[in-house]
Point group: C2
Chain length 439, copies 2
């Protein structure tokens, strides 16, 4: 089985971390394709190399002196090289980078050098072949990732290479310009490589022992999710839970390649398996809880609305015309509520309200702001009777006023609206009832 | 205070019933404007006069002999007249009706004679003035009720008349053609009269002691709702609970005139007050439960749907183009479920599915049929924490699988989707927990 292993910035911040990573890779001969990030923070006040590169390039663009800033970056890499006792010099590379900065090669180019250089070190350290991502990962002239072309070139390239390091985060456009994914994009590179080599597993090594049931800023020491489906993960990610870059799911999802989130600092932990399907019974009824603050509910009332064909469509069209995407549209009899992001809505508020008024002549429109949405997600909820009852009893117990409930027929999640102020209490209550009390 | 009193068909089916009605009217001198229905059933196998009229007119239209059928109708009225010892003959009236039937005056004309004749008897019996509804209630050339014209003429007419009987159910178009409301439309006439005379109360006398918390075919001897708001009533009516014609709410609602549902057979019962607003604390947390069977859920999944502006609008547009109104649109992350009436959907199913496919290119579309929707309605739910928790715990306890939950920000109702087979059990469970156990 081929495994693709991606390591995050904190896993590669220092020589010491590199050694841990090396040990992990050598512990399993299937770990044949390695995707490194740029060096992250060595300690909490430290600066990530990617940020140093952006800052340095900014100086270059403003035609200010940037040699010192660039030397500081080089020092970071040299520290790693020396700590690993490698026979490697990045002098020539930094010469080129300095020239390109002077020629204003672009901030994507600048940022990408973090992964590029780390990839060179990693390949040297492991004795793996180095493959520049610009030669195998492609973007079109609008900067849109070209999945098919990339897959073709990448799989052909790697077919003949037993073991390789492919730096994460970037690729190139047809004219050779370097283009990056959005921040955290090394996750995507790993996923693309996994797809291209038809990997049996995509290991994503980071600084936590997996995907957590709830946000650790709200729940102290939350449990780790042992197995989660792509679908559940997408739902939790959408609602704010982050470990993996959202777009990293799609390439492997199509192929059904599982992703294993692992902790470089605790390689003995099994981490979280992200899979397409699973018959494995989840440990708790719910798989995870996530949420976001900052929503507005626009509540529209009109007598006989329920008998008016096209009413809902007309309302949604007003939001669409104003470029606002809606989150949920719970409805009663003759009432329709539209949940949208407060920051998207606020500046267009009056235009939207006037538009709804004009399009539908409602009896009344009410606004309620400062709302939060919480998604309680879990494939186990379908099989377990009474999940909704337990959730809402727990929320009542915690004095949380439920403003909105939305559960479609997938029965994979329940979306709950509460006031921003009740957000943390609501998440705690749901966590407690299902995870601590194991109900 | 002026009161408008409307009596249903069963309250006026016989001379004995007329006497009860007379006693009720005379017991309160404010009961100045009376709106009678046509005579209903005297016993369960009996035929309503309105149905006799439709059947008789059908014979006339087919140019078959209908004199015997008409004589049977006359006999119904004569029985009442004799029972009341009135000095009144309907000979001349029936002569005109016979001629009009022969001239094929329309089935609306035919049906309206039930109320018309009952109104004449009622006016004679009470010593009130008789006002033919055709002279005060108007429809336009498309048969649409003309609210403003009616209100103007009716209020002007009744200003100078202390006490009057106005037969329910019908009015006339500009050319004099008789036009009826839909079946049960005497409720609407009563509401229109109440509005025109600025009544303090609209009493609607029927054969039940008020609006029931739940359907008596499902719950034996359900409690009577003492006070319900127009809004709650509309919600329960929409979901299938019937006592009052749905359109009867609108004329009085605008004026804030309360409706009192009363029982002719038990005039001492206070019945149900239907009001615009009330500070009265409801006896139970919920005001009522109602529901309907026969829905289909169309569940649409697409990756990144939540980030696609216009997705929901496109889906609803397909239903609109096919003339199908949706009931609810619960959504998760990247899933959208549309609930529609099964009978409306079934014949257009393939066209709708193809339309959704074409408009939105979803990853998958699932259908789930034979679903029921239940509305748990109550202004008390807003103040009571944990209502949702109790509902869903009760449903779990009753082994009911909850397929959908929809609660908007009005917090006046929760809509629950269950399978048709669980419909009765779900209603029982909710009734038990809130009404029997008074939780």
């Amino acid at each position: 089985m081929k495994k693709v292993v991606k390591f995050g910035g904190s896993s590669l911040a220092s020589a010491e971390q590199f050694k841990k990573v090396g040990a992990i890779i050598h512990a399993d001969k299937d770990r044949r394709y390695v995707v490194p990030s740029a060096p992250g923070k060595r300690f909490s006040q430290d600066t990530k190399v990617t940020d140093m590169l952006y800052q340095c390039y900014e100086l270059a663009v403003k035609e200010k002196l940037f040699t010192e800033a660039l030397a500081a970056i080089k020092a970071r890499y040299d520290e790693i090289i020396q700590g690993l006792n490698l026979d490697l010099s990045l002098e020539a590379e930094f010469k080129i980078i300095e020239e390109e900065f002077r020629a204003k090669a672009g901030s994507d180019y600048a940022a990408s050098r973090g992964e590029y250089l780390n990839g060179i070190i990693m390949a040297n350290y492991l004795g793996y072949e180095f493959i520049d991502a610009k030669d195998v990962i492609f973007f079109d002239e609008h900067g849109i990732f070209e999945a098919d072309l990339t897959d073709k070139v990448l799989s052909a390239t790697l077919e003949s290479i037993e073991r390789a390091v492919i730096p994460g985060f970037y690729g190139s456009m047809a004219d050779g310009t370097i283009k990056t994914f959005s921040r955290g994009g090394s996750d995507i590179t790993g996923s693309i490589v996994a797809k291209a080599v038809k990997a049996g597993l995509y290991e994503n090594w980071t600084d936590v022992s997996g995907f957590l049931v709830a946000d650790p800023r709200i729940i102290s020491n939350p449990e780790v999710i042992s197995t989660i489906t792509y679908k559940e993960l997408r739902e939790l990610s959408y609602m704010g839970a982050t470990v993996l870059h959202e777009d990293a799911i799609f390439p492997v999802r199509k192929e059904g390649i599982p992703i294993n989130i692992r902790n470089t600092g605790a390689p003995e932990d099994p981490g979280t398996m992200i899979v397409k399907h699973t018959a494995s019974k989840p440990e708790y009824t719910i798989t995870g809880i996530a949420g976001k603050k900052g929503f507005v509910a626009i509540n529209i009332e009109k007598d006989m609305m329920n008998s008016e064909i096209g009413f809902g469509r007309k309302v949604l069209e007003v939001f669409e015309e104003n470029g606002i995407s809606f989150e949920h549209v719970p409805s009663g009899i003759d009432t329709l509520t539209v949940f949208v992001h407060q920051d998207e809505f606020i500046e267009k508020e009056q235009r939207v309200l006037a538009g709804i008024d004009h399009a539908t002549s409602p009896d009344s429109i009410d606004l309620a702001g400062d709302l939060a949405l919480i998604a309680v997600v879990g494939r186990g909820m379908r099989e377990t009777r009474g999940t909704a009852g337990r959730i809402f009893s727990a929320l009542a117990h915690a004095n949380v006023n439920v403003k909105m409930i939305d559960q479609g027929s997938s029965e994979l999640n329940i979306i709950i609206g509460v006031s921003n102020n009740d957000f943390e209490a609501a998440i705690k209550a749901v966590y407690d009832i299902f995870v601590l009390s194991k109900l």
